[in-house]
Symmetry: C2
Subunit: 192 residues, 2 copies
């Protein structure tokens, strides 16, 4: 998605440890126009998948999921990262390793909001090692819901997550794939 | 806002400790149509306030802020609750007491995304004791930004937050104000 690549090139900041910050528009400050364009691109790519629900994980996926749900005309649901006193006891859950924080955390989703009849589009801001997406796939498996696709804004193509998901036969669409960001220079892999 | 009150009456669940769960449409599962209507109501109520930025706090405010930003045509920004390795060192911050979790936490916002020239609309899902909103007002004060309004989906009218904010002269609009929810029965205070 050319518009997203251009925005990353213009505003993305590369920090030590292969960290790419795009917090001017995607996951701290939020540009609703960019988010709408991202959502419309997901809709173009998954229009025929019969999507009934958008799934993401808090916090940085929520804005993307909200706008994607709006464009698809279906509900979104976000998995929560910490056991909250207000979360139903009756939850699906999966353990996810965060490389950013170097620790495991649990993601949880109320059983009320994911059903065997759902065709789920999982969305998130970043895909690196793919652990968060794997966790969300586990939630869908527990609900016997169908994972109809995974839509990612920015894939770190030099890390393993994308390959692992594609090898599993998951329909993964990443709107921008970063080939490398050595010495602070961001280069993209071609996408459709 | 009649539509919101009706939805709360139909789907809200009252739990012990004056907890109201509306996670079927507002803060776990997300109904994008309801969110759009909430955003349009905020726009009606704050249309003349010259809003340049929507401010909320993760996680449950993000969906509301995203759609509100979309309707207003301005960026949103969400304060983060935990020090993240990926957050700028250069942040505004405030300490907030959570009654839900009975602990203090720090909210943080990159100085890049809140400026003295901003006219800020603070939005959130709930207002109870008002501590989260007070924290966001502190962030705005640090930035010398103007708090042009506070838009709340559900105010617990029997708790102190709303009165404290109104007494301060803050332009607060709550789309649904709960007068009481004794014995699981939700009654609303009249709103405009």
């Amino acid at each position: 998605m050319k518009e997203l690549e251009e925005r990353i090139a213009a505003e993305g900041r590369v920090l030590p440890g292969e960290v790419l910050k795009v917090d001017s528009f995607l996951n701290h400050q939020l540009d609703p126009v960019m988010l709408e364009h991202i959502a419309r691109e997901f809709h173009r790519l998954f229009a025929d998948a019969g999507i009934t629900k958008i799934l993401t994980v808090e916090a940085s996926g929520i804005a993307i999921a909200t706008m994607t749900a709006y464009v698809f005309g279906v509900p979104a649901v976000f998995a929560k990262k910490n056991r909250s006193r207000n979360l139903d006891a009756d939850v699906y859950s999966a353990v996810v390793h965060s490389y950013t924080y170097d620790r495991d955390y649990t993601i949880m989703l109320s059983k009320r909001y994911l059903k065997a009849s759902d065709h789920v589009l999982i969305v998130d801001d970043f895909l690196a090692n793919g652990r968060a997406v794997e966790g969300m796939i586990q939630l869908c498996e527990q609900a016997r819901a169908e994972v109809s696709g995974v839509g990612i804004c920015i894939e770190k193509g030099f890390q393993l997550g994308g390959r692992l998901l594609r090898e599993k036969g998951i329909h993964l669409e990443s709107l921008a794939i970063i080939a490398s960001m050595e010495d602070g220079k961001i280069t993209f892999r071609k996408t459709e």
